[in-house]
Structures are given as structure tokens and as C-alpha cells.
Amino acid sequence: MSWSWPYFFDYMNNGLMLRGVWVTIWLSIISMTIGLGLGIFAALMKMYGNPAVRFISEFYIWLFRGTPILIQLVIIYTGLPQLGIRFNVIESCILGLALNEGAYLAEIIRSGIMSVDKGQEDASRAVGMNWRERMWLVILPQATRTIIPPLGNQFNGMLKTTSLCSVISMQELMRSAQMIAQIEFRVLEAYCIAALWYLLLVSIWGLIQTRIEAHYEKPFGSQEAVSNSEK
């Protein structure tokens, strides 16, 4: 059996494959969003919490960065039911991906917060902002500029990490390719199409990330560049 272009093109707009692409997209976005929330929370707990709170945050980060995401997914979906805790496939995937992502993002967000000039804390306190207001209005918006590049990198990784969810039978892109490959045993054609889709998704994200970075860089750009863009 040699390479077949007809199968290749047929798989390209195969309904099952396209459905997989769509699942990969929303699974990535939802998991990333929840993971970002968890990451901000964990970072703030670690930086500003009392020792007990800090311990919880550090334990969470240690645990989820220290074990493979594949084991985390399998434990959540197939292991926890043993204890009477049941999540369906979609819940398990989102939970596993978000918890894992949050642990990595916590450290990225922490370094972003630390990169903000100490004078900003003084200035925001001097105009009468309490801790919450300082964080949300002054510190985090400035940390975002430092956080966005590694955050984009993490989302790039997330798009591909979702493929691990195929192991617990989530019908995302990887699982779709598996299923298609089994129909006619056109394994190479099916997985090449899946690989191309991942490449396309990651490339589109790359373009979006560039625009987001430019947006947050705008206030910090060279004097000329900024004043030109305002005309």
C-alpha cells in the first residue's frame, strides 16, 4: 500500500476530522481560560498569602508540574471513579488540562508580577488604592506585557497537548485521525492530515499572538512608533 493522494484529499474535509478540529479548538480555549484563572489565583496565593495559603499553592504547583499530564488525565477519568468521584470524558479533559496548565501559568504570572517596577506599588497606594485595586488596575495590567509571550507559548503547547485526551476517548483531532485511520488502514494519510491541522491551528494562533503582543507593547514602544500610530 503506497501513498494515496485521493485518500489524503478525502480526509482533508472528512466530517469526522473537521469535528475533531473543532473539539480541539474549544477544548484548548476553555482549558486555557480556566487554567489562566487558576494560575492567577495560585500566583497571588503564593506571593501574598499567609504561610498556610502559600503552602497550598506551592503544593498544587509542585504536584501538577511534577507528574505527567497523561497520568493526571487517566487518574481523573479512570482512577477517581474507584473512590466514587465520577467525571464524564469532557469534564475530565477540561479538569486535567486546566489544572496542569494553571500550575505552569502560576509561575509565569508570578514572574510577570515581579517584573513590575516597585514604584508602581507606591504610586497606586499613594492615590488610595487598596490591595485588590492595586492588583487589578495597576500591577496585573502591567505584568500582562511580560506574561503574554510565554502565555502564547503555553497556548501553542495546549493546542497540541489536547491530543493526549484521545487516550481517554475524547473525540478531538487526534482521536478522529485514529478512527479514520482504522477504517481503510490509510494510517499515514490520516495522521498527516491531523498533523497539518495542528500546524494550521498553531500558525493561526501565532498571528493572533503577534497582534496581542503589539497591543500591550503600544504604550511602551519607541516614541516615534507610538506617536505615528496615533495619527
Binding site: 508602581q120 507606591d122 504610586a123 499613594a126 488610595g128 495590567p141 504604550p219 496615533e230
Partner: protein, 258 residues
């Protein structure tokens, strides 16, 4: 303290960073509308005193009353109980502070720098706050910079915006922590001019500075700090012409030499 005209009343304030004593029994009264200049060599405690008045640093003992608040504490059954962060933030709204390094918010425009606190902290109406912000920009002489970002401005312009940002909260007291020390010489006067206007408008001000020209022109009193203590507190003329403290004579001879 009972004097209703008193805006700042500091009683026996002490503070140390570890073994290093930076404020050693400071007493200071400032009445409404007064402009007090504090000078002294670096490390004498003058910046720390300002930061303690605005609660950017806490004190070890004594008490500070400023803009109608017992800063950092509340009285409870004749005892002083330390306030939490949010309550301190409310006290800080009544005191404006200007820093050596400006510390404008770099991620938002000049106009948003001025409007941020009144809008988000005091939850005031945008149109109202914007009109006041534009008036403040006019007052510091930078109406055409409202859409610029801080990075696009010179140091002198940034400091004038920082003054406008502080004034937007309608403070009862303004603190200036070496406002011109980070500026190129040709920009110093544009900032001092704004401060002199402010003093003429009746603002109560405490200014840590080495600009003796400003002290002569605008100050009601000049204070010299030396080794964590206030060693001279006099009207400008007396301060410069017949200082009582040996430290003041030494300080003046060094500053006026060149």
C-alpha cells in the same frame, strides 16, 4: 492636635530599619496652607518621614495625624489598633504624593493616569472626572498631551502629570519626595513653577528638596533633618541668614558653595 487648622501633627515618631534608626523622635506641626521644605543630606530620614506620613511605611512608635486621620491606626477604648490595608487606602486618598521617579502608570495614557483613581476608586462619573482632568492638564500646562503615553514625555512633563494625578483626588495635603532630583537641570523650573502656583492656591505642602530657590520663594518654614532628627525649623530668611544649628551652617556652606 486640637487646633482645627492643623493638617499634620506628628508626635514623637520613631522608626528603624533593623538597627538603623531613621526617625528618632520626630515632632512636627503643619497648619493649613503652610508650605514646609525639608532638607538634609541623604540618609537623614527626610524621605522616610514623608513615606510614613502617607503610610507607605509604618512607624514603630508615636503617632501621625494627617488630613484629619490618625494615620495607620484607629482609636479603640483609648488604645491604638492598627488598620487593615483597605482602611489605610481610604486615609491615603486625602493625601497626594509626588515621587522622585514620577511613577506614572506606563500602561495607560496621560488622561487615564489622572482619571484612573477618581473613576475606579471613588466611582465618580466619567464625564465629570474627565472635565476635571482636562482642567488639571491645563493647570500644569500640558493640555495637548492628554492622549500621550508617559514614555513619550520628558521627565519634567511626567512630573507635572504626576502632580495632576495626585491633585485629581482633591487631597488636603500634598507630599513631594525630591520631585526635581531626577530631572535634567533645564526641566526643574517647569516643575517648581507648578508647585509654586499650587502653594499660592493655598495647598498645604511638605516638600523634601534641595532646591533652595524654591524654599526661598514658596516655603513658610524650612526644616533641616540630621541623623534622624529635626535640628532646625525656621522661616526661610532665618534658616538661610541666621541658622541656630551648627548642622544647618555646615549644610548651607556645602550647598551654597558652588
Amino acid at each position: 492636635m486640637n487646633d482645627t487648622n492643623s493638617v499634620v501633627s506628628i508626635k514623637d515618631v520613631k522608626k528603624a530599619f533593623g538597627k538603623n534608626v531613621v526617625l528618632d523622635g520626630i515632632n512636627l506641626e503643619v497648619s493649613r496652607g503652610q508650605v514646609v521644605v525639608i532638607c538634609g543630606r541623604s540618609g537623614s530620614g527626610k524621605s522616610t518621614l514623608l513615606r510614613c506620613i502617607d503610610q507607605l511605611e509604618s512607624i514603630d512608635s508615636g503617632e501621625i495625624r494627617a488630613a484629619g486621620h490618625l494615620m495607620g491606626f484607629k482609636e479603640f477604648n483609648t488604645k491604638l489598633v492598627p488598620l487593615k490595608d483597605a482602611a489605610i487606602a481610604k486615609q491615603q486618598r486625602d493625601i497626594g504624593m509626588v515621587f522622585q521617579n514620577f511613577n506614572l502608570f506606563p500602561h495607560v495614557s496621560v488622561l487615564e493616569n489622572i482619571m484612573l483613581a477618581p473613576m475606579k476608586i471613588l466611582k465618580r462619573k466619567k464625564s465629570e472626572v474627565e472635565n476635571e482632568a482636562l482642567a488639571l492638564l491645563e493647570r500644569v500646562g500640558l493640555p495637548d498631551k492628554k492622549n500621550a503615553y508617559p514614555r513619550q514625555l520628558s521627565g519634567g512633563q511626567q512630573q507635572r502629570i504626576a502632580i495632576a494625578r495626585a491633585l485629581a483626588m482633591k487631597p488636603k495635603l500634598m507630599l513631594f519626595d525630591e520631585p526635581t532630583s531626577a530631572l535634567d537641570p533645564e526641566m526643574i523650573s517647569e516643575v517648581l513653577d507648578v508647585m509654586i502656583d499650587l502653594s499660592k492656591a493655598g495647598m498645604t505642602m511638605i516638600v523634601v528638596t534641595h532646591e533652595m530657590g524654591f524654599a526661598r520663594a514658596a516655603a513658610d518654614r524650612v526644616i533641616l533633618m540630621h541623623d534622624a532628627k529635626i535640628v532646625e525649623d525656621a522661616a526661610p530668611r532665618d534658616f538661610f541668614e541666621k541658622p541656630r544649628s551648627e548642622h544647618t551652617r555646615l549644610f548651607l556652606s556645602k550647598i551654597l558653595q558652588h
